[in-house]
Amino acid sequence: MSRRVAIVGMGVVAPGAIGVKEFWSLLQEGRTATREITLFDPAPFRSRVAAEIDFDPAAHGLSPQEIRRMDRAAQLAVTATREAMAGCGPVLDSLDPARLGVTVGTAVGATMGLDREYRVVSDDGRLSLVDHSYAVPHLYGYFVPSSFATEVAWVCGAEGPVAVVSTGCTSGLDAVGHAAELIREGTADVMIAGATDAPISPITAACFDAIRATTPRNDEPERASRPFDRTRNGFVLGEGAAVFVLADLEWARARGAEVQGEVAGFGQRCNAFHMTGLRPDGAEMSKAIDDAMDEARVDPEEIDYVNAHGSGTKQNDRHETAAFKLSLGEHAYRVPVSSIKSMIGHSLGAIGSLEIAASVLAIRHDVVPPTANLEEPDPECDLDYVPKTARDWRTDTVLTVGSGFGGFQSAMVLTGTDGTR
């Protein structure tokens, strides 16, 4: 009998919302946190909007050395980790450090730090043979994003399996899926797992401009992220982190921990098609969904809510709508589907974990967060996307999905704690 995986702690740092409580208010109210970019001068760029966090690391307890050493993405991860640990009750007490592991997802690592330090050592691109004597002493930690996992392991004292999972924009789902598997197979009893990204930097803006993936809707930033809307024309870059304390369900219950939800099933596939393109039929995402439902032993009709990838690009929203229909059949037309990227943008590798957090909160509150800015329906996206306003909705079982560059397609089924399975 395979072990079951409980979520017993949660921490969130998101645009417009630091902390789980703030995060849920924002989602429930349908507030958007997208705005004109302030983290750098966006004037030269095609897309000039982003979902930014007003984040003061010192105010969140990071020491001067931590602030100097860590890229912003690591700072967000550590902040979310501390909230998750503070709320997880007794599961970390008297735990053998060898049975505690860490999995951190990130798509693009220390992009902000690398962009900033590159400018210095190259003197704004003048030197191809960069001057290493100008490098900050912690540049190696930006070079290898595995440093993020080191930082989180140092916060929680883990001495078990520690890793970064980096599968582009599905990293946030895959990191939690990986950690859940380590608990199931018995390698660890508790995992600190989640994802972070802080990609709002000139190099990221430039590379998404180059392929027109981000929206040029610069005149109304707060309405720029428009998943499933007919007028959508690209995603809005975001940043953030969400981290969970996962534990063997029986182990957690025996210690009296409050179980907030269960990672019931996970599936992951490659489309083997194109590094940035999606096959319109959604076949591989559908296979990932089928794998996740199969592992969770749920039928399509049992899915109460679909937390969509919903990035707001033309091709993505079509692609996943097709995948939902393939996997859920007629039920796809009945189940509420929404995208929180409409409010907090697309934080690349982090968003999958933020969406898991939103899914767990939907289960806890029996409320489905809305798709903000969905005003003009698209005939190609003909499901119930919960436009603009959150919905009271009995929610016990959630499907959340992700899709990313490289062809990665992931799906996870999260369930409540009613113990019916």
Partner: protein, 436 residues
């Protein structure tokens, strides 16, 4: 798919002393070094000027023109290694399975898991230079994926039609083992074949600046005295590019398709993390080696060779040799570091060590550690200077990453799983594993 240990049925190698498994293995058995002065950029101004570069590699000879503008150098090496591994295994992954064989028909049963450390860093330097010297509109449309950590998995999946799970582990130098362990996990779940391993490298000025701040690069210009693990003169390593890609298969699946060769089994694995410096807690490596042996249901005496991480940083070397001696006994098992011929290739290094361990088992030859005069304080038996003939049935590979990562993987000859539970007293036959 099954409880039996997965098997390795294909190997592809890109190494500084030889591109391709045959050339690499001939050179490595002969103790030929691939370390030399950096040629890919002018390193004269930097304190470290040596590297292990894959010799004579012209990507255009190996890859379609269409792939060249969208790939970093290390991705090109990875694609060539993956192609060699799949050809070696005689697998055309896009081929449908045998009729009536259930999920063999599902191309989703075949996936990719690779390790990465810093992504396509050289590609990234070029595009950063474009951005800051010429403007954002000059940044390549391929930058969005050519430099990121998932690129090799994505490109291998696309090139070979692998629609199963796709994974990417980033744990610095330990990654090569963690990727193979994740592949094993996928084979235990739904998959029948996983292409896995790591090919890596950041031999560019920007990569140099970053690696220099890690504080572990050696200086000097003599390849024969540059990278000297376990030696009194140990003073850091030479960075390198390359690695290995393996084809791993569920043992029954490999049998049913009559795979032409089985190099060996992935018998055991464990990973653990070192406590934060200053906490007073000791290093984790000894426990990780013991856990990997327990996972393989093997005893220390079953291991015929240990492939060391070989950091060439005195403190790290001391931790490693102490852990090896504690588990296996002082000078009780041959230890080698073919890396002394290659340099350290980050996420590629340990995957290549696994390939080398399998070739060692096949041919009964342990490749040497070159240039090293071991310090007396290291209580281990290092295979020095010349290859050592030995009937090796199983080997352990150790890999450690910057920041605290420790991983150990055990490979063994196919069909040689011991009957007992290894480090624990025998409790009966329920621990016996199905021979391949």
């Amino acid at each position: 798919m099954s409880a039996a240990a997965p098997v390795v049925t294909g190997i592809g190698i890109a190494a500084p002393n030889g591109l391709g498994t045959a050339r690499y293995w001939t050179a490595t058995r002969a103790g030929e070094s691939g370390i030399g002065p950096v040629t890919r950029f002018d390193a004269a101004r930097y304190p470290s000027r040596l590297a292990g570069e894959v010799p004579g590699f012209d990507a255009a000879d190996h890859l379609p023109t269409r792939l060249l503008p969208q790939t970093d150098h290390m991705t090109r090496l990875a694609l060539v290694a993956a192609e060699e591994a799949l050809a070696d295994a005689a697998v055309d992954p896009a081929e449908p399975g045998e009729p009536g064989s259930g999920d063999l028909d599902d191309p989703g049963a075949r996936g990719v898991v690779t390790a990465s450390s810093a992504g396509g860093f050289e590609f990234g330097q070029r595009e950063l230079e474009m951005l800051w010297s010429r403007g954002s509109e000059h940044v390549s449309a391929y930058q969005s994926f050519a430099w990121f950590y998932a690129v090799n998995t994505g490109q291998i999946s696309i090139r070979h039609g692998l629609k199963g799970p796709g994974g990417v582990l980033v744990t610095d130098q330990a990654g090569g083992l963690d990727a193979i362990a994740e592949a094993r996990r996928q084979l235990r779940r739904r998959s029948r074949l996983i292409v896995s391993g790591g090919v890596d490298g950041a031999i560019c000025p920007w990569g140099w600046a970053a690696q220099l701040t890690g504080g572990r690069l050696c200086t000097g210009d003599d390849p024969a005295t540059a990278y000297l693990p376990f030696d009194e003169r140990a003073a850091g390593h030479v960075p390198a590019e390359g690695g290995a890609i393996l084809v791993l298969e569920d043992a029954a699946a490999a049998r049913s398709r009559a795979a032409p060769r089985v190099y060996g089994e992935i018998a055991g694995y464990a990973a653990g993390f070192d406590p934060r410096p200053g906490t007073g807690r000791g290093p984790t490596l000894r426990r990780v080696i013991e856990s990997a042996l327990r996972d393989a249901a093997m005893r220390p005496a079953d291991i015929g060779a240990v492939f060391a991480d070989a950091a060439a940083v005195p403190g790290l070397d001391g931790e490693e040799t102490a852990a090896i001696a504690a588990v296996f006994g002082e000078r009780a098992v041959p230890v080698t570091a073919p890396k002394t011929m290659l340099g350290r290739m980050y996420a590629g290094a340990a995957a290549l060590d696994v390939a080398t361990a399998l070739l060692t088992i096949r041919d009964g030859i342990i490749p040497p550690t070159i240039n090293v005069r071991p310090a007396r304080r290291h209580p281990i038996d290092i295979v020095l200077g010349a290859p050592r003939p030995a009937p090796v049935r199983a080997a352990a590979v150790i890999a450690r990453g910057h920041g605290g990562f420790n991983s150990v993987l055990v490979v063994r000859a196919a069909g040689t799983a011991p009957p007992g539970p290894g480090t624990e007293p025998a409790r009966g036959t329920h621990h016996a594993r199905q021979a391949v």
